[in-house]
């Protein structure tokens, strides 16, 4: 079996007495698309935030591309990672947020140039060219000099996708990326994600409420409940023939709401 791109090994996360994730074990293969679904408070967003190192973990180890992310080897043992190690391994991961989190004081183009220049050390010209190509790919070549406040939510989210891609990650995380959008703008963002999946060699983890999209796009669906993966499998298994009662309840509630 090939080395997993992302591996959670007995990962636990708690806030004080509240356990958000309880010894999570999850492996994601290179190029695999995993959709994470579940009720709010089930810990699904926390999975992505821990992987992006926005949240510290309380136990276990996360591996990315064959090496530990949250820890580093020292004298044959794993010790908690220092900032330098985190920065190196984190470079393999990109994230797109629910609320876009674009830099409001920079144009779309500058948003996509900032990190390539200052992190990858690209010359300004090259960074600008790549940023322009990526904005073109997400269908915004005519908006590259616009500021986020001049763009619609869907356009902002597409800039955010281009910005994350500019760092050439191996793993892309999508955290409810269409939840803050007006319904008519959801499609344009999902189309970009479809395109990414088809054209790029990317491992993707997405937390989503778009069940239709998860069904069509994902290779695997994980249903989270109470800080654990209650059920996982191919989309058709989860959506058409869920084994767990909780999965059935969740899906019927979501599908009823439309």
């Amino acid at each position: 079996m090939t080395e997993p791109m992302v591996k959670f090994e007995n990962v636990t996360k708690s806030y004080g007495a509240l356990t958000v994730l309880d010894s999570l074990n999850l492996e994601v293969a290179p190029n695999e698309k995993v959709a994470i679904i579940g009720p709010s408070g089930s810990g699904k967003t926390t999975v992505l935030r821990m992987l992006m190192t926005l949240e510290r973990i309380n136990g276990g180890v996360i591996y990315v591309d064959g090496e530990p992310l949250t820890h580093m080897p020292r004298n044959g043992a794993l010790v908690p990672a220092d900032e330098k190690h985190l920065r190196r391994v984190r470079a393999k991961i990109g994230m797109v947020f629910q609320h876009f989190n674009l830099f409001p004081h920079m144009s779309a183009l500058k948003n996509c140039m900032e990190a390539p220049i200052h992190v990858l050390g690209l010359p300004k010209k090259e960074a600008e060219q790549r940023a322009a190509e990526l904005l073109d790919m997400v269908g915004l070549s005519d908006k590259k000099n616009h500021y986020p406040s001049q763009l619609s939510g869907g356009q902002q989210q597409r800039v955010a996708i281009a910005r994350a891609l500019a760092m050439r990650p191996k793993v892309m995380l999508f955290d409810e990326v269409t939840s803050a959008l007006d319904p008519e703008l959801v499609g344009e963002v999902l189309n970009v994600i479809r395109k990414l999946g088809a054209e790029h060699n990317l491992t993707m983890l997405m937390v989503t409420h778009q069940m239709g999209f998860a069904k069509e796009f994902a290779d695997r669906v994980c249903f989270f409940y109470g800080g654990k993966i209650a059920e996982q499998g191919k989309p058709e298994e989860i959506f058409n023939a869920p084994k767990e009662e909780r999965t059935r309840q969740f899906l019927s509630a979501v599908l009823e709401a439309g």
Partner: protein
């Protein structure tokens, strides 16, 4: 007659020259306060308690003691430790330090107002802490606090007469000397007051312009906040 116009015109050039010293002390002091304030704000927000707690204590200490005592301390007590400073330097240092501590609280408020998502996006893009502060956080933290910083600029300006206590030849000290020479205090002291009034109003107008300009050029969007 209470007001002597001849005398007024006679002392005007002397006071105008002294006003240059006042403006210099204000600008240098505020420059120091603006830089020091930012540094203190960042140190205070450090995750390392060995940095943040002493910094917080230092800021509280400076803010809770009168600036006049700090001026005296730097000018009269530092020499005991071998640090002898010219009066103007000591005065600017004390004002900059005092107002730097006030400014640091303003910066901190500005930095804390930057949405958490901006920090998270910076982490996700792997920006270093330095680049995050320089390119992402500070450009968004400053525009909303320009009015508050401007208030401190005007406040510092109005405190510069304290430097007369260590014989810096700024406006107040010059007016006192003129008064003691001619035994006429009405004109010099009044002129000093008028000067401060006019300059404060001018400064306030400039700050409003800067504020408007920052908001235009940095385009802080309402939607993102």
């Amino acid at each position: 007659m209470l007001w002597d116009w001849n005398y007024t015109w006679e002392i005007m050039p002397v006071l105008l020259r002294a006003s240059v010293v006042t403006v210099e002390a204000t600008l240098l002091g505020f420059l120091l306060a603006a830089v020091l304030g930012l540094v203190l704000a960042i140190l205070r927000m450090s995750k390392n308690n060995w940095v943040s707690i002493p910094t917080a204590g230092f800021i509280e200490f400076i803010r809770s003691t009168p600036v006049l005592i700090q001026i005296f301390f730097i000018y009269f007590v530092f020499p005991e430790f071998g640090v002898v400073l010219p009066a103007m330097t000591a005065g600017v240092l004390a004002l900059g330090l005092h107002y730097g501590c006030y400014c640091s609280e303003v910066y901190r408020a500005g930095i804390e107002c930057v949405p958490r998502g901006q920090w998270e996006a910076s982490t996700a893009l792997n920006l270093s802490p330095y680049v995050t502060f320089r390119d992402i956080i500070i450009p968004q933290a400053i525009p909303p606090i320009v009015p508050a910083l401007g208030n401190y600029l005007v406040a510092l300006f109005k405190e510069t007469p304290l430097l007369s206590a260590i014989a810096v030849l700024e406006l107040m000290q010059t007016a006192k000397i003129l008064g003691s020479q001619s035994f006429r205090y009405v004109e010099p002291i009044t002129l000093v007051g008028v000067f401060f009034l006019v300059m404060s109003l001018v400064a306030a107008a400039i700050i409003r312009q800067v504020e408007a300009w920052l908001n235009r050029t940095l385009r802080i969007s309402g939607a993102e906040r």
